[in-house]
């Protein structure tokens, strides 16, 4: 062991002297000193989540040895927390919605502090340069840039106007297409400001629809300890994983003696000492779809990065050393990676165990075969005037939450298992982990604190069983956090697919048949393999009216890192293929692409006719009384606004497309039409309870899981609107399986719609009782005549009583009772949001380099409960979708080892390279949703890839059917053309 060093440095103005080891990094030392704003994103510092001001300069503390800091000055965001109020920079980040999960907020605020100290009036380029080292997977940097501008203005003494949407007049009458006028320019304004086109059907409300500041803004802006890793139970052990170096191998033997002999090691778990209990790790409703093809530790590994063993030790370093001392003997087996080859007769059989049930055809690695149909596709194709067939290939990418997966488990004073974990599905995780730990569900408690992004990766029971097993084995708190490399190789990813469309079109340009065949690659385990591909079918065959449709899918096992849930959940794959396919058909038939798609896209009253036949609640046609229909849509308004914003006419202007001063550049504009879902009907359920406090405020408990999406804020706004109070009077708590009602979790674009309706109904229950108590106090006979507003209950004659007085009376004075409301909601409907996506690009036709210059998305999400958080969802979703389309990809060697397990080689967009990003919120009133809301979280993932692809086609005449559009792929396509 090395000697410790004594170091002294100035921390937020105070000298700190502490002992460190030579290899301690500054981030860990700062967190030991209670600076919880300094986060882990990666050991190599490229996420910037751990950035501090080091001698006044923004610097990643991950790559600064603590010893290097001796004699230096370090500033963290805690230095600003001298008052209860926020510092102007923190306040600016809160005001404009710059923090979603807020995981990296401390770094951004510190960077702003340093930048403005040096330059009180920075340019946008200088702001973006400052942010270039802080990777953000959530905001597309749009609102953080706005926050810096706002903070600068405030610190210069200028008055900052409230941050609110730009209200625009509609361009359509709500139904008919608008006539595109090239001379009509979109209104100018900051791209951070959402453009809102109100609906005449939607009444003005007090809290709903308003740009309220997020309820968690203060804790995030201050860097308060809010995330999983921001506690440290006494006696906590640190855990590490041993993962497979082979893509496919049998574990012949494991010898853990040397690891167990290492001082400080408390447990080494693997298949020899952990019960073999089958499960499927996807966080889904009971019963989890089969096959249950996983166990906590198996006798076989099926991808590089697969679990082999886990260690708990006194320190991370000891745990890592113990992992290296575990001696594993492998019998290496042949592996298969491409879904197109997995079904071949000579392909290796990936699941040859005898205890996994309901694999469709294990010999051919086919996990599921999914079929759904309406009409007679073959007959329609045989008689169609035109038939088109195309195949598309979409690739594997990772969600890349800046906070990696992390779980901490301990056995509490009642001998129950408590797991504090970064999860999107606390209730599913509890139900799924209990049997693995051989415990009853009632003896397991899952606590979901703030989460630093999930995007579906955390819709999984991934680490909870491991820390649970280790806590049981050691009877000590156990913490396991994935490294960035493990987050890439050992967590979850997006499913690669090969998608083939055959489409029949009549002489009028109407679709008569659509046949979609998908080979979905679910990697070595089923997890979300069934449901993701069913969503691919739904999204690939729903947004255009067509009398004959067929979906056929083979979901296959391979030896790639495990695909799972990723925001969009099968839709981005389908929409890429569909919108590219229809673009090409339009060109082939000589139609304007908008005109052709408009002939066929759905409208109010259209049947949603394939979705009922797909998914966990699939039914056959005979079981349906009628197909669900589209009841609200703002498609034409979305398209009209998007066309104007992008300047659609330029795509046909040779002077714009071929700039004379840049001979190797071609410009293009692409369009994609998008339709998504809102929750899973008859399945997704959310619960809420609300109780009145002495001062007229409310505690609201929800099982819904705010990942940074603003769900807590939106649900609070819904309740506040019902109860006639301010958002700040609703104290939202989510989620804890011991304390909050059940909720299926944060996925399937369900929270606002499902949990929001539960919140609305719970508030209505409480409101009813408040009105009755108010009627008693005001001596009014008809409680229904009472109105709640401005934190008071008003009688029809104008007399009123405050909610505080009602609360004090009901809690303390007469006929005492706790006024509270509880409700839960499951929906029979799945009202789709719609969007028009535009992309403007430049292609270097000599090198193949594509530069994206602008993205526009106009979204019909019903009533945006909070237009700022809603637009933030669209901005962030588009940025992720841009990475999917343009630069993100897993690269492997021939043995299935991932080659790019760090940011940089795995490229996600930085602040200083993002294209201009503009969001339109087209309001419609969806009667089935709370205050008219539909979903918004996932649809931004759907349109960027096809819009980009179609823009490249517009620019160059070359159609590319594989993702991503990296330079060499485009160059090769240009050369082949």
């Amino acid at each position: 062991m090395s000697d410790t060093l004594s170091i002294s440095f100035e921390l937020n103005g105070t000298t700190v002297t502490t002992d460190v080891s030579p290899s301690d990094n500054l981030r860990d030392v700062l967190r030991r000193e209670g600076m919880f704003s300094v986060k882990f994103g990666s050991a190599s510092g490229e996420t910037g989540a751990g950035a501090v001001l080091f001698d006044g300069r923004l610097a990643s503390s991950d790559v600064i040895l603590a010893a290097q800091a001796d004699g230096h000055s370090v500033v963290t965001v805690e230095s600003l927390n001298t008052e209860r109020e926020l510092h102007p920079i923190q306040a600016a980040f809160a005001a404009v919605g710059a923090m979603q999960s807020g995981y990296s907020a401390g770094a951004m605020i510190l960077g702003t502090l340093a930048l403005l100290a040096e330059n009180p009036d920075p340019t946008e380029a200088e702001i973006r340069d400052m942010l270039s080292g802080i990777l953000d997977r959530e905001t597309a940097y749009v609102k953080p840039v706005e926050a810096v501008k706002r903070a600068a203005a405030v610190l210069r003494g200028e008055t900052a106007a409230p941050f609110a949407p730009m209200i625009l007049e509609p361009l359509t009458d709500g139904g008919e297409a608008a006539v595109y006028d090239p001379a009509d320019r979109a209104p100018a304004g900051s791209s951070a400001v959402p453009r809102l086109i109100p609906s005449r059907d939607v009444p003005d409300m007090a809290v709903v629809g308003k740009p309220e500041v997020k309820v968690d803004a203060v804790r995030l802006a201050k860097g308060n300890p809010a995330f999983t890793d921001d506690i440290e139970p006494r006696g906590m052990l640190y855990c590490r994983l041993l993962t497979s170096p082979h893509a496919h191998a049998r574990i012949v033997d494991i010898d853990d003696r040397a690891a167990l002999a290492l001082p400080g090691v408390h447990a080494v778990l693997h298949h020899k000492n952990v019960a073999r209990i089958k499960y499927a790790s996807g966080g889904q409703s009971w019963p989890n779809p089969h096959p249950h093809d996983q166990v906590s530790f198996d006798t076989k590994v099926r991808h590089v990065g697969d679990r082999v063993a886990a260690v708990a030790a006194e320190t991370v370093e000891i745990a890592e050393e113990a992992v290296r001392l575990i001696d594993v003997t492998y019998e290496v087996l042949p592996a298969i990676f491409d879904e197109r080859e997995a079904m071949e007769p000579d392909a290796p059989k990936i699941h040859d165990e005898d205890d996994t049930e309901e694999i469709f055809d294990a010999e051919r690695n086919i996990v599921h075969q999914i079929k759904a149909q309406r009409g007679d596709v073959e007959d329609a194709l045989a008689h169609a005037a035109h038939v088109f067939e195309q195949t598309f290939r979409v690739h594997q990418v990772q969600q890349c939450p800046i906070e990696p997966h992390i779980s901490i488990a301990w056995i509490d004073e009642d001998e129950r298992m408590v797991i504090r974990t970064a999860t999107q599905v606390p209730f599913h995780a509890r139900r799924m982990v209990a049997p693995l730990l051989e415990m009853d569900i009632k003896d397991v408690r899952i606590i979901k604190p703030r989460i630093g992004g999930g995007f579906g990766a955390k819709q999984e029971m991934l680490l909870e069983d491991i820390v649970g097993h280790l806590a049981k084995a050691t009877r000590r708190p156990c913490r396991l956090e994935l490294t960035r490399e493990e987050e890439f190789a050992s967590s979850r990813t997006r499913h690669p697919q090969t998608i083939t469309y055959r489409t029949g079109v009549d002489d009028d340009g109407k679709l008569v048949a659509q046949d979609m065949y998908v080979i979905g690659n679910t990697g070595p385990y089923g997890t979300h393999g069934y449901t993701v591909q069913t969503v691919t079918g739904m999204r690939g065959l729903s947004q255009y009216d067509c009398p004959n449709k067929r979906f056929h899918c083979d979901v296959v096992y391979t030896n790639i890192p495990v695909p799972g849930a990723y925001r969009g959940y099968g839709a981005p794959q389908a929409e890429f293929a569909l919108e590219a396919h229809l673009e090409d058909i339009a060109r082939e038939l000589g139609y304007d692409v908008i005109e052709f798609k408009r002939k066929n896209w759905v409208s109010t009253g259209s049947e949603i006719d394939i979705a009922p036949h797909l998914g966990e609640r699939a039914v056959v046609e005979d079981e349906l009384d009628e197909y669900p229909r589209i009841m609200s849509e703002g498609i034409e308004e979305c398209v009209a606004q998007a066309l104007r914003e992008i300047g659609w006419h330029r795509r046909d202007d040779p002077a714009w497309r071929e700039p004379a001063d840049r001979p190797h550049i071609r410009r293009g504009i692409g369009f994609a039409f998008c339709m998504h879902g809102t929750a899973i009907p008859f399945l997704d359920m959310g619960g809420c309870s609300i109780k009145l406090n002495d001062d007229g405020s409310f505690n609201m408990l929800v099982g819904a899981t705010d990942l940074g999406t603003g769900a807590d804020t939106v649900l609070g706004q819904i309740a506040a609107e019902v109860l006639g109070v301010r958002l700040e009077d609703i104290k939202v708590y989510s989620s804890d399986t011991d304390m909050t009602p059940f909720d299926t979790g944060a996925y399937a674009s369900s929270t606002t719609y499902i949990s929001g309706t539960a919140a609305m109904q719970a508030a209505e229950v409480a409101r009813k009782r408040i009105k009755e108590r108010a009627a008693m106090l005001l001596d009014v006979d008809e409680p229904c005549t009472i109105e709640l507003r401005d934190r008071r209950a008003y009688a029809a004659d104008g007399r009123s009583v405050s909610l505080e007085d009602i609360a004090l009376d009901s809690l303390h004075t007469q006929e005492q009772e706790q006024i509270m409301g509880t409700s839960s909601y499951v929906s029979p409907d799945c009202p789709p949001p719609f969007a028009a996506q535009m992309a403007e690009i430049e292609v270097d036709v000599e090198t193949g380099q594509v530069t994206v210059t602008k993205l526009v998305m106009a979204v019909d999400c019903g009533v945006a409960i909070n237009p700022i958080t809603a637009s933030g969802q669209v901005e962030g979703g588009m940025a992720q979708a841009l990475g999917y389309a343009h630069c993100e990809e897993f690269a492997f060697d021939d043995d299935g080892r991932l080659l790019n397990t760090s940011f940089g080689p795995y490229k996600i967009y930085r602040a200083d390279e993002m294209p201009d990003t503009v969001v339109y919120l087209v309001q419609t009133l969806e009667d089935s949703g709370p205050f008219g809301a539909k979903a918004v979280a996932e649809i931004p993932k759907d349109g960027v890839a096809p819009a980009l692809r179609n823009a490249i086609l517009n620019a160059t005449g070359v159609a590319i059917n594989d993702l991503p559009f990296t330079p060499e792929r485009v160059w090769a396509a240009l050369n082949d053309a």
Binding site: M1, S2, L5, S21, P22, S23, N25, A43, S44, G45, E46, G48, A51, F54, R57, L58, A59, S60, D62, V63, I64, L65, A67, Q68, D70, A107, G111, D129, M130, L131, S132, G133, I134, E317, E320, E321, R324, T483, D844, E846, T847, G848, Q849, T851, H886, C887, E889, A891, L899, N900, G904, K907, R910, D912, E913, T966, P967, E968, W971, A972
Partner: protein, 239 residues
């Protein structure tokens, strides 16, 4: 087992050189490379931060950049020509360029480093303690001599320069980049992404003699084509 076994911070170059005589000791510059490697080792690091090697100043008709000057400092220094300041800032994002140093960049010798290509065309010479100074091209080809420490890099700040590159995204490390500079009628051209380190090439025939390494971002064939196109563009831009 620690990731590093011991930390030393000498206050004179002589002491630093003495410390570095031990075979298990390595130089710690900014730390963005050494400290990012969390694999265990028995290495000891010798931190050069207290040796005063971070100045950037004119030195006759050349500019002398101390080995411990950060990329951020290089990006801000008036003595450094504007075109190179831009490249220095682009070498690393904000949170790492405040730590990464010129000396560390030279020692790492990354074949993707646009800054090294810029230094090559600026006639960079590397000053060493424990060895004779030498041209950057020679040092990149042979590595830092055993027992020697980079103390500074000097450049010719004159002339006109331009760069051209191809990357997945605007701020991504280029797959191939070309930096050209002309001074006193002489043109120099350097490429990244075509060899293990950035290399000087013939401005009239940029791809001649190259055998680029391939990776998932670019095959050897593609990189050769980029070398030809981007080299020609960079040279054309300074004509």
């Amino acid at each position: 087992m620690p990731l590093i076994a011991a930390y030393h911070r000498p206050t004179s170059l002589d002491v630093a050189m003495d410390l570095l005589q031990a075979p298990n000791r390595i130089v710690l510059a900014g730390g963005t490379v050494v400290n990012a490697d969390r694999a265990p080792s028995d290495l000891e690091v010798v931190d050069l931060q207290s040796l005063g090697l971070d100045t950037i100043e004119h030195d006759g008709d050349r500019v002398r950049i101390g080995a411990m000057a950060t990329l951020a400092a290089g990006g801000d220094a008036d003595a450094v020509p504007a075109w190179m300041r831009t490249i220095a800032r682009a070498e690393a994002p904000s949170t790492l360029r405040s730590l990464a140093t010129i000396g560390g960049t030279v020692a790492a010798g990354s074949g993707e480093s646009l800054l090294l290509a810029a230094l090559l065309v600026a006639d960079a010479r590397v000053e060493l303690a424990g060895a004779e100074q030498r041209g950057l091209a020679e040092l990149l080809a042979t590595g830092v001599p055993e027992g020697a420490v980079i103390t500074a890099v000097t450049i010719d700040p004159g002339g006109t320069a331009a760069e051209a590159h191809t990357a997945r995204t605007p701020a991504d490390a280029p797959i191939v980049a070309a930096v050209a500079r002309t001074s006193n009628g002489t043109t120099a051209l350097a490429l990244t992404g075509v060899a293990d380190t950035p290399v000087l090439v013939d401005p009239l025939d940029p791809s001649a003699g190259l055998t680029p390494p391939a990776d998932f971002r670019g095959t050897a064939e593609y990189r050769l084509e980029l070398a030809r196109i981007l080299g020609a563009r960079a040279v054309e831009a300074i004509r």
